[in-house]
C-alpha cells in the first residue's frame, strides 16, 4: 500500500474528530530547529465543509478491538484498515510542515492489540518528531482510554495538548453505546492529565531563577513541559437523549473541576447502521451551533451556566442565540449607558462582543460615543440599540421594550449555507420531529423497547424529560462572583457522570 493511499484511509477514519486547534501555547522559534507555535493558532486551510485544517489529523491506525456503536472504526465494520509506521508518519508530518500546509500533528488512534501497545506506537512517532527531528511545532495527542499512567506521562511530555474523548454526555449512554469503555477508563486519564499539568506548573515556578535564597542548581537538561497547552474533550450530540441543560451543566463542571481548555461538541452523524442508534437522517447541526454559542458565553463572557439554561427550559432556543435570550429574560438590567457602563455589563449586550466592548472602553476615554461612533467601531448596532443608551438617549425606537417585542427583532435563524444536510434540515420541526406520527420519522429508534430509550418517547421534547434525563446536580456550580471550589465536590465530580 503506498503512502498516499494509506494517508487517505487513516484520514477518512480520523475526520469525525472535531478538535483541530493549534492554540494555547507560545513557543518561539530556535536557530537550527524547525518550527514554532503561537498561542492564537493558525488555520492553514479550510475543508469543503468550512472546518479549518490546522493540524495533520490522522490515526496511527484504524484497526480497533473495540466495538463502539457510533464509531466508523468499530471492529465489526468492514472497512479498509491500515497503520502508519512511526517513522513514516513523522516524515510525512515534517514534509507537510516544511511546505506550510500544517501547524503540526493531531495524532489519534484506534486500539490495536491493547491500549498500551497503541500508545507505545504513538509515543514512538512523537519521539522521532521531538527528539530526532527537533520539531517545535504543535502536537495534539489523543489519550486512549485504558492506557497505563506511565505511558500517558511519557506521551504528555511529548505533546502540547492532550484530549480524552468523553464521547457521550452521560455514563448511561456510554455504557449503552460503547460497552468496552467505562467511566473510570475515561475520567482517570483526564484527572491524571489535570494533576500532571498542575504539578508541572508548580515545579517550573519553583525552579525559576531568583525566587529563593538557596544555592541555585538548575536541572542539567531541561525537561519538556507536561501538556503545556492543556487538555480538551469531545461529546457527541444527538446520539443519546440528553438535554442541552444536561450537556451544558456537564461542560461547565468539566471546565471547573478538570480545568479543561475546550469541550467540543460533535453533532451525531449516522455512519453505522445499528439498532442502538437513532434512526434519523437529520444532523443536529443547529443544535450544535447553539451549544457552541453557549460554550463561548461560559468561557469568554463570564456567564454562569445557570444564567444560560434552566431545568424548566432544558433546550436552547433554536431561533434565538443564548446571549440574546439571557438579555430578554433580564430586561431589568437594560438599557445601559454605553459611555459609562462597566466592561462586564457591556459584553452582556447582544450585538457587542468581547472585542467590541474593549474597543468601546478604549474609545470612550476621549470621545463621547453615539450611533456613528459605535458603527465605526464595528458594533452590531442593529441589535445593540435596544439595550443601550448613547449619551442618555435611547435609540431602540420602533420596538416594544418587552420580551415579545424585542424577540421579534432579535430572532435570527441560523444561516448555515445553501448546501448539504443543512439545506434539508429538520428545522423548524427539530424538536417536534420525533413526536410526529405516521411518517417515516415517527419511530426514531428501531429498538424502542430498550430501557434507556424508553418506548415511543419524544426524546428531545422538553416536557417529557424526567424519564430518561439524569437528575440535575444537587450542588450547583459556584455563582459568578464566588470562588472556585478547590476540590471537586465528593460524589458529583461531573454532572451526570
Amino acid at each position: 500500500m503506498d503512502l498516499v493511499e494509506k494517508l487517505e484511509i487513516l484520514t477518512d477514519a480520523a475526520k469525525y474528530d472535531v478538535a483541530c486547534t493549534s492554540s494555547g501555547i507560545d513557543r518561539a522559534a530556535q536557530k537550527g530547529k524547525l518550527g514554532s507555535t503561537i498561542a492564537a493558532g493558525i488555520c492553514h486551510s479550510f475543508a469543503a465543509d468550512g472546518r479549518c485544517i490546522t493540524l495533520l489529523k490522522v490515526l496511527q491506525t484504524n484497526v480497533c478491538v473495540y466495538d463502539c456503536v457510533y464509531c466508523v472504526n468499530r471492529c465489526s465494520n468492514e472497512i479498509a484498515r491500515a497503520a502508519f509506521k512511526p517513522r513514516e508518519l513523522a516524515d510525512l508530518t515534517i514534509g507537510f510542515y516544511r511546505r506550510n500546509y500544517i501547524e503540526g500533528l493531531f495524532l489519534s488512534s484506534g486500539v490495536i492489540v491493547s491500549p498500551d501497545y497503541t500508545t507505545e506506537l504513538m509515543v514512538e512517532t512523537l519521539r522521532i518528531l521531538r527528539v530526532e527531528y527537533q520539531f517545535r511545532g504543535y502536537i495534539h495527542a489523543k489519550a486512549v482510554p485504558g492506557t497505563s499512567p506511565e505511558l500517558l506521562d511519557t506521551l504528555g511530555h511529548l505533546a502540547d495538548r492532550m484530549s480524552v474523548n468523553l464521547e457521550l454526555p452521560s455514563q448511561k449512554s456510554l455504557q449503552y453505546l460503547a460497552p468496552e469503555k467505562n467511566k473510570h477508563s475515561i475520567i482517570a486519564p483526564m484527572k491524571q492529565i489535570k494533576h500532571g499539568i498542575a504539578e508541572d506548573k508548580d515545579t517550573r515556578a519553583l525552579m525559576k531563577r531568583g525566587n529563593h535564597y538557596l544555592y541555585e542548581k538548575r536541572p542539567p537538561k531541561k525537561d519538556r513541559a507536561f501538556v503545556p497547552a492543556g487538555q480538551s474533550t469531545q461529546i457527541i450530540i444527538g446520539a443519546s437523549p440528553e438535554s442541552d441543560y444536561h450537556i451544558l451543566q456537564l461542560s461547565a463542571s468539566l471546565y471547573q473541576n478538570l480545568a479543561l481548555k475546550r469541550v467540543f461538541f460533535s453533532a451525531y452523524l449516522p455512519v453505522n447502521d445499528d439498532a442502538k442508534l437513532p434512526l434519523t437522517d437529520a444532523v443536529q447541526l443547529n443544535r450544535e451551533h447553539r451549544l457552541y454559542q453557549a460554550d463561548w458565553l461560559l468561557r469568554f463572557y463570564e456567564f454562569d451556566v445557570n444564567e444560560i439554561i434552566t431545568p424548566e427550559h432544558p433546550f436552547l432556543d433554536p431561533d434565538l442565540d443564548p446571549k440574546a435570550n439571557w438579555a430578554l429574560n433580564n430586561l431589568g438590567c437594560f438599557p445601559i449607558e454605553v459611555n459609562t457602563a462597566p466592561l462586564e455589563m457591556l459584553i452582556r449586550v447582544p450585538g457587542i462582543g468581547v472585542r467590541g466592548a474593549k474597543l468601546i472602553m478604549r474609545a470612550r476615554r476621549t470621545t463621547t460615543l453615539r450611533e456613528a461612533e459605535l458603527r465605526k467601531l464595528g458594533i452590531a448596532y442593529k441589535r445593540a440599540r435596544f439595550f443601550i443608551t448613547c449619551n442618555g438617549s435611547y435609540t431602540g425606537s420602533g420596538a416594544d421594550f418587552s420580551r415579545e417585542g424585542l424577540r421579534a427583532h432579535l430572532a435570527a435563524p441560523i444561516e448555515g449555507g445553501k448546501h448539504g444536510r443543512r439545506a434539508d434540515r429538520a428545522l423548524p420541526g427539530q424538536m417536534s420531529l420525533f413526536e410526529s406520527s405516521g411518517t417515516q420519522t415517527s419511530r426514531l429508534f428501531k429498538n424502542a423497547q430498550t430501557p434507556l430509550f424508553g418506548a415511543r418517547e419524544p426524546l428531545f421534547a422538553a416536557r417529557e424529560k424526567e424519564a430518561v434525563l439524569p437528575q440535575p446536580p444537587q450542588k450547583l456550580p459556584a455563582p459568578l462572583n464566588g470562588a472556585k471550589p478547590l476540590k471537586e465536590p465528593a460524589g458529583m465530580a461531573l454532572a451526570g457522570w
Binding site: 498516499v4 487517505e8 468550512g50 511546505r99 452523524l269 448555515g416
Partner: protein
Amino acid sequence: MVSPSFTDERNTLMDTPVEQDSALVDTPVGQDSALVFDGSLEGLLSAIFFAYAKHLHPSDVVAQANLQPRLGQTIHEVPTNLEHALRVQKGICKTCGASVFEAVKYASVSDDPAIGSIIYRFVRYALKKNRPHDCSNCRRKPYCNGLCTRKHTKTALDDIAHSAVAPFIAAHRSVSNEQRYIMQFLRFEKVEGNLWFARCNPKASVIPLVMDWFTARFNTQAFMIYDEVHHLAGVYEGKDWYLVKTDQLSVPKRTDDELLMQEAWKRFYKTIAVESRYNPELRQQFMPKRLWKNITEMQESLGCPPTPNAKTELAEITLPLLAP
C-alpha cells in the same frame, strides 16, 4: 540628565535646522497643495517632514503612481531623503511611542491610493495630541533620558472613533489581515537545488512584514517568497533575509519528492471534509477565492495549472526602514 521638553510640535522633528533646498518652494497658507513621494515608506516620511518644514497643510499626500492633481492644486515633488525619514521616525517614536510607528510601518504597505493622506493626517494628529509631553507623574522619569516610549500612557491609536484615526486603523487592520492570510495560506514547494519557493498574491505589499515570521520558523531551509502583484521577492539563505525587486523570475524545476507530497496533501484535503456538513460558503468566507490560485489544494477546483516559470535577473533593493 536631559529632561524632555517638547514645547512645540516642531521641536520633536526639528532638533537640527533643515538645510535650505532651492527646489523646495514655500506655499502661502491656505492654498491647496499636494505632496508627491516615490511610494516607499521613506518617501512618505520625507513628505511628512517636508510638510512640517514648510508649514504646509497639503490636502493630498500621494505616491507618484497614484497622482491625480486637483484643479488649481500646487504639486510638490518631494525627493526621498533617508535622513529626514529617520528624523520623522525618531520623532514619532519619541512623542507617540514605538507602537505608533510600528502601526505606521504596517499601514504604509497598503495598496490604497489614499494611504499617503491617511497616514499623513494620522501622524499630524498623533504628534499634536501627545504634545506637550507631560512627564510630571511618570515613574520612569528619572531614568528615561527623554527617550520615553510612552508605552504606559494611551496613544493616538486609542482614539479609534476620531476621523483622523479611524481610516488609519482600518488601513492598518486590512494590512494585518493580509499579512495573516500569507501566514496561513502560503504554500512552499521544493525545487531543485534544495530551495523552497512560494508564490502569493496579496492585496498589500506585505512581504517585508512576513519575512521575520517565516525566517524564524523555517530557519533550517533556504527559501524565497515571491509576490506576483507587487513583483517583490523576499529571500532567505541562512543569514538575514533581503528583498528583491523583479518583474519576472526563474524558478528551478520541482523535485520528484515534491509531486508526491502535493499529491498526498491534496488527497488529505479532499478526504478530511465531512460530506454531510458540506458548506462551501463558509469555506470561501475564511479562504477568499482570490488567493486560491496559489493554494496547492485549491488549484484543481479552479481548473488552473500552476504558474509557469519565467526567466530573468534579480536585483537587490534596499528598504532600510522595513529591513530586518
